[in-house]
């Protein structure tokens, strides 16, 4: 009990102390610096290499029009250097969105303790360098005198004459932050939409920054400030933010890092609800407005394409495969089509949005219910259901209904198969643009890769022992293969040879063939024959699970802070039927076993020896149908994989027949 109170008292003290530190920055800056120069361990992270002591960002938005804005960005950071590696924080680069940005100022000071006194070194402005990097400018400065123990304080001010009207600031970074403040000042007639991703709720204060008045502050809060009558100012503060640690099997860390994201509508109230966003997308000719208009030309094209089709399924497939195979698409994360659809048809090329919008249009002309679907792919943050952040979407797919079935299709890439989207599109909430649009959930668990391997003995003569292996890829692995095949034509042979290396014998690849390589709508298969030299004298130890679903437990750490995410569901089947050479037998066999994480997620290991045919038969099966495992499930998931590896490593003893 005493311990409990003791720790509670300590944490309350730290909390009040940290609030006082934040206040000190504003009320007695020299004391603030001195305090931190004498401090080498921080409660927020006792092993941090650097700590952001104070951070303030001001976005002043002057004009907004057509998704672009004039935004002046002022950033100030005060950083405590705690390790040698962190001295590089004294080298700062300032990015800009376009070449026409203007650097208004860049200043910096390094503070150190020397002979018990605080000494400061100013950054010499003449050393500030501006360089061109592609279509952007980069400002660079290096602060003098930075070493372990230093506190650096720098500020820069950039006028981005043109910038995107959506922007974001990360509260959470690779180093912990004691205080991070973001202020947005914008014209009163503009509409600001924001999404704050944080574990903490932002407490609203009516007055100016409460840091000056309060002794205790929440870890997240916001307030509005008085400004000139024609502008609005809103501020968010996040305190005591821990650093974000990377972990494997996380689709996108941005989904978990604390961030605040802003977006402006350039016409009032366009994007303040999903309905208004949808109306704009549905009716605006700059987006998908033209899809609802009849087009006699495209109608004739569809009629001619589908003239010989009998069923709806045939019509759908014919239209899809024609667009995919005949058009040249390129990836663009612009969700609005670039060209008019008849032009796309005629030129046979277009952006992702052009191609899939055309597909929607053609399906509609053929009488199907079809709509564009906006998606945020896995390399983007997921879409928040409550706020219509249109800039999160970076992919346009096609949704079409045929009978009771719904298909999601992408025809912009020739390696895409009919019937499903690339796996990176299954990233949670997507938006179907319709007269009354609606959200759909494209979950990773809804797409599954089914991989099948069969190994059989073709010739059991010891001097000419041959096996035949057939690997049938799943729909996702087939597509990945086809994409990579374009890069390296020898990849498949290398892959086969690497697989043969798994056999505990000397192997020689005799022949191989790739099946369905060109037909992207079927799963790929490879069949290869190898000669095996058993090289067995009296006995040998054989691990029969030559092909494993996983070669090692992918979850090495015993601890986990973020959910485990797999990009898609997985089935893995392996059947091995090995004839043991004459005069030898399987003397000792491991046990068959099933390990289950749940009914959907399980691994089966069945092994048998058939004396009549002298055959060793192993059938293994992995079903991993769930794709998200919360942190509390992690120990079970890890143990499940440990069991799989244990079973895969089971061995049997092959000995001479008595």
């Amino acid at each position: 009990m005493f311990r409990k109170f003791f720790f509670l008292a300590i944490s309350v003290f730290c909390f009040i102390f940290s609030s006082a530190q934040d206040k000190l920055y504003y009320t007695n800056y020299p004391e603030f610096i001195k305090l931190h120069l004498n401090k080498s361990v921080y409660e927020v992270d006792s092993n941090a290499e650097a700590v952001i002591l104070h951070e303030r960002v001001i976005y002043s938005v002057k004009r907004i029009a057509y998704g672009l804005a004039n935004i002046r960005v002022k950033v100030r950071q005060v950083v405590k250097i705690l390790s040698k590696d962190a001295t590089n924080k004294g080298n700062i680069t300032i990015p800009t969105p376009f070449k026409i940005s203007e650097f208004l100022s860049a200043t910096g000071t390094t503070y150190n303790i020397e002979d018990d006194k605080v000494v400061s070194q100013q950054f010499d402005k003449k050393n500030f360098k501006i360089e061109t990097l592609g279509m952007t400018l980069v400002g660079k400065l290096s602060l003098p005198g930075v070493k372990v123990g230093s506190v650096i304080d720098y500020e820069y001010d950039v006028d981005n004459n043109i910038s995107y009207a959506s922007f974001a600031w990360n509260f959470q970074a690779t180093e912990p932050k004691l205080y991070s403040e973001v202020q947005v000042i914008y014209p009163e007639n503009a509409t600001l939409i924001y999404v704050a991703k944080s574990d903490k709720e932002f407490v609203f204060f009516n007055n100016e920054n409460p840091v000056l008045g309060k002794t205790e502050l929440p870890e997240a809060y916001r307030f509005d400030s008085k400004t000139e009558s024609i502008t609005t100012s809103k501020t968010w503060v996040r305190r005591l933010v821990p650093a974000l640690d990377a972990e494997p099997f996380v689709t996108n860390f941005d989904n978990y890092s604390e961030q605040i994201e802003f977006m402006f509508s350039y016409r009032k109230n366009i994007f303040n609800s999903w309905d208004t966003l949808n109306s704009n997308l549905y009716y605006n000719p700059g987006y998908f407005g033209t899809l609802s208009q009849k087009d006699a030309f495209l109608r004739r094209c569809v009629d001619s394409l589908t003239a010989n089709c009998i069923t709806d399924q045939q019509r759908i497939y014919t239209i899809y495969s024609y667009v995919r195979d005949s058009f040249k698409g390129y990836f663009s994360d612009d969700i609005g089509p670039c060209c008019k659809l008849p032009e796309v048809w005629k030129s046979k090329k277009g952006s992702l949005s052009d191609i899939n919008s055309l597909l929607v249009k053609l399906f509609r002309e053929a009488g199907f219910k079809s709509n564009p679907v906006l998606i945020s792919t896995t390399n983007h943050r997921r879409v928040p259901p409550n706020v219509p952040l249109v800039n999160r979407f970076n992919f346009v797919a096609c949704r079409v209904e045929v009978g009771d079935d719904v298909l999601y299709l992408d025809a912009h890439e020739k390696t895409n198969a009919f019937g499903h989207l690339p796996f990176f599109c299954y990233n949670g909430m997507a938006w179907v643009v319709d007269s009354t649009g609606y959200a759909v959930n494209l979950l990773p668990a809804s797409i599954r890769d089914r991989y099948v391997i069969q190994v059989i003995t073709e010739s059991e003569k010891i001097e000419d022992y041959r096996i035949v292996i057939k690997e049938t890829f799943g729909k996702i692995s087939s597509q990945l293969y086809r994409v990579n095949q374009n890069k390296d034509s020898l990849a498949i042979k290398n892959y086969i040879l690497q697989n043969l290396k798994k056999f505990p014998f000397e192997t020689e690849l005799l022949n191989y063939e790739v099946l369905n390589e060109k037909n992207v709508d079927t799963t790929l298969a490879i069949r290869y024959t190898a000669k095996i030299n058993w090289n067995i004298e009296d006995q040998m130890i054989l691990v029969p699970a030559i092909y494993g679903a996983y070669s090692e437990n992918p979850f090495k750490s015993t601890k986990r802070t973020l959910p485990v995410e797999f990009p898609y569901a997985k089935d893995f089947y392996c059947s091995i039927n090995l004839k043991i050479p004459e005069n030898f037998t399987a003397a000792e066999l491991p046990k068959s076993k099933v390990v289950k994480l749940s009914e959907e997620d399980q691994y089966n290991y069945y092994i048998s020896f058939y004396p009549e045919t002298n055959s060793l038969v192993l059938n293994t099966k992995l079903h991993l149908r769930n794709t998200v495992f919360e942190v509390d499930r992690y120990p079970y998931l890890r143990a499940f994989f440990s069991d799989i590896i244990q079973l895969q490593q089971q061995a049997c003893l092959i000995t001479k027949k008595l």
Binding site: N47, A48, E49, L82, S83, K84, D85, T87, N88, G90, N91, I92, T93, K129, E131, T132, L133, G134, V138, K140, S142, P144, G145, V146, K147, V148, K328, N486, K493, N494, L497, Q498, K501, P504, Q539, M540, I541, V543, S551, E552, N553, K556, S557, T558, K559, A587, E588, L589, P590, K591, F641, S642, I645, Q646, Q648, Q649, Q650, A651, C652, L653
Partner: protein, 636 residues
């Protein structure tokens, strides 16, 4: 016919040929030999250098390359740098379709410009111009022409024949017109040039033609170490802004660097006092250690290289004021501190890189990109890498070790070799003890001592890191298939070690090493799997391969068995000894434990392609578990 006339005629004919070739750049005219294994074909490349004086050099370049397919796209990108020491002019590009018909032309304005050093802490005046036509229809041909105007003669760019893997070369040539100056040149893997004379003008020409494309061989192969076809060039007497020098010998090059950088070692008084205070009453080695430690604690690497400052150091006061500098500035600063402490030291220029990339010793030219500091002493030599905050005292990493450097002294330059770290230096000594638990897991404790590069890299990864990050690192370092890491500890060996040295102790619970089969237990006694890198198992290798680092791993594993266990099967012993490495492994039963003794050793060097199948055998044997599997049975 006078020789000069013949040379001019030759040049004229050559240019006429080039002109005619340009008219016939259709893809059809590429023969089968040039297409084989090729993703792109260099149709022609002409580089013409006119040396008017030591401060006026013009390099005219024009080339055409046919891109046959998607894999050749890298060859379609044009990029060329410029800075205050050499400017790029008259850029022009043209795009031809497969028939050789021009379909697009671009001018200087359409070439994009970008800094070469976008990362924080790197400053220079170099920019790169780049351009790409992005034409989607293969095959097509691109032509580029441009001029480089160089205002110094300190370095003349070497000429490389662009015979990269997947690129065949129809014709490539270098011509040089040198007016009243002495040109030095060295052909490497190429024949000597045709040389002619016209009054005070000397004329040189190298030509190669019809080089078929080679196949890229990835594994254990570093293309830039390959036997490139190149020509090294220099002017015997050169000028860099107001500084003049000579490349007649390494000594004279050293003399030039000395003059360029001399009298820049004056420390501010405050720092001089600090040095004296730190070194008071210490031995010479202690002084060097203390000052090196001071350098590492108080400075950081920031590259500032504008114009001549690429070769000329900022003075010591600049570093003292800013606490940062590049390799020259930090080396000069350290040298100045040692001088204040009464210790002589000398900068040594090297060609740095993780892979040994030595200079051409018999062709004195400034072939260097880095500088380190050497402190000669009567009985030993101390080497200091002044740009690193964490390298141990008197230790050079693979970035600068084992290569020839040029020591800069007031008397001129002297070649010398930086330390060579062989198999006895980069070493891992590991003892592992394991006992079998009731659930067939293994309780394993590793005691490992690392030396040399191993120790340096581990030390760098764990120093100042959070316990959870160290735990993560230890997790990544364990190569078993399934395990629970219980404890990990890293600490530096005590005392003043002659090379980096680290201890590692790991305690784990290993899974999947013991399985049951009927009445037996099968043990995989490989408690530390090691995986040498070999990707392209099927390739019949045509080019030499390289082992870049010597190293030795000596392992001893003890696996304690149940008291009533008897051996059913033991693996065969293996002993492989090749010039590039050694692998030996034996598993024995001793008393109540399995005893595994393993040695893996790799010797750095270049090995002919004929050895590659042996290397593959070697790597596969090391990776195989069959040398470790043991079957035991309970006697009861």
């Amino acid at each position: 016919m006078k020789p000069v006339l013949s040379f001019v005629l030759l040049l004229s004919i050559s240019f006429l040929c080039t002109a005619r070739e340009k008219k016939h750049l259709s893809v059809d005219s590429i023969n089968e030999e040039m297409r084989m294994n090729a993703n792109a074909v260099l149709r022609f490349s002409e580089r013409e250098i006119t040396i008017k004086s030591s401060t006026d050099i013009v390099i005219k370049v024009q080339y055409a390359i046919t891109i046959l397919n998607k894999k050749g796209l890298m060859s379609s990108i044009f990029q060329e740098g410029s800075s205050s020491l050499f400017t790029l002019k008259k850029l022009e590009g043209r795009l031809l379709d497969s028939t050789g018909k021009e379909i697009k032309k671009t001018t200087s304005d359409e070439f994009a410009t970008s800094t070469t050093s976008a990362i924080a802490g790197f400053y220079d005046d170099a920019v790169v111009k780049y351009h790409v036509f992005n034409y989607p229809k293969f095959p097509y041909t691109i032509l580029y022409s441009y001029e480089i105007h160089q205002n110094h003669s300190f370095v003349l760019p070497p000429w490389y024949v662009e015979d990269k893997p997947g690129v065949s070369v129809q014709k490539s040539s270098l011509s040089i017109v040198a007016n009243g100056i002495t040109l030095r040149h060295k052909s490497i893997n190429l024949s000597d040039p045709i040389v002619d004379k016209d009054g005070s003008k000397m004329l040189y020409r190298w030509t190669v033609s019809n080089l078929p494309a080679t196949i890229k061989e990835d594994s254990v192969d570093y293309t830039f170490l390959k036997d490139e076809k190149k020509v090294l060039l220099s002017m015997e007497d050169f000028q860099l802004q107001n500084y003049k020098g000579s490349v007649a010998s390494w000594k004279s090059i050293g003399q030039f660097f000395y003059e360029l950088n001399k009298e820049r070692d004056v420390l501010p008084e405050q720092l001089r006092n600090k040095v004296n205070q730190l070194c008071n009453g210490k031995s010479e080695e202690e002084k060097i250690r203390i000052l090196y430690n001071y350098l590492q604690e108080n400075t950081r690497y920031v590259s500032v290289q504008y114009g001549i400052s690429g070769w000329q150091t900022f003075d010591a006061a600049y570093v003292a004021q800013n606490n940062y500098g590049d390799c020259k500035a930090l080396t000069n600063f350290m040298m100045a501190m040692l001088k204040e402490a009464g210790i002589k030291s000398y900068p040594v220029l090297v060609k740095a890189g993780s892979l040994v990339s030595n200079i051409v010793v018999n062709f004195p030219t400034p072939q260097f990109n880095h500088v380190i500091l050497c402190v000669p002493r009567p009985n030993d030599t101390i080497w200091l890498e002044c740009t690193s905050n964490d390298l141990p005292f008197n230790y050079l990493s693979s970035f600068t070790s084992c290569r020839t450097g040029l020591m800069i002294t007031p008397e001129g330059g002297y070649l010398l070799n930086t330390p060579d770290y062989d198999t006895t230096y980069n070493k891992t000594l590991r003892t592992v003890k394991a006992s079998i638990a009731a659930d067939n897991s293994l309780s394993v404790v590793y005691y490992t001592k690392y030396f040399g590069e191993f120790a340096y890299l581990i030390g760098k990864q764990v120093e100042n890191k959070k316990p959870n990050e160290i735990h993560k690192l230890a997790n990544q370092r364990i190569t078993l298939k399934s395990f629970d890491l219980i404890q990990s500890n890293y600490f530096k060996c005590s005392g003043n070690q002659t090379s980096p040295c680290m201890y590692e102790t790991l305690s784990i619970n290993a899974k999947a090493l013991i399985t049951e089969a009927g009445t037996m237990k099968i043990i995989n006694a490989n408690l530390a799997p090691f995986n040498p890198h070999v990707d392209e198992f099927f390739m019949e290798r045509k080019t030499p391969f390289y082992m870049i680092e010597s190293m030795t791993i000596v392992d001893t594993f003890y696996i304690f068995l149940p008291t009533d266990a008897s051996i059913v099967a033991l693996p065969e012993k293996i002993s492989m000894i090749f010039p590039f490495g050694i692998f030996t492994c034996m598993v024995e039963k001793k008393d109540n434990y399995l005893f595994v003794r393993r040695k893996i050793s790799v010797v750095k060097g270049k090995y002919e392609s004929a050895f590659f199948s042996k290397y593959r055998e070697f790597a596969e044997a090391i990776q195989s578990d069959k040398y470790y599997r043991v079957a035991i049975k309970s006697k009861s």
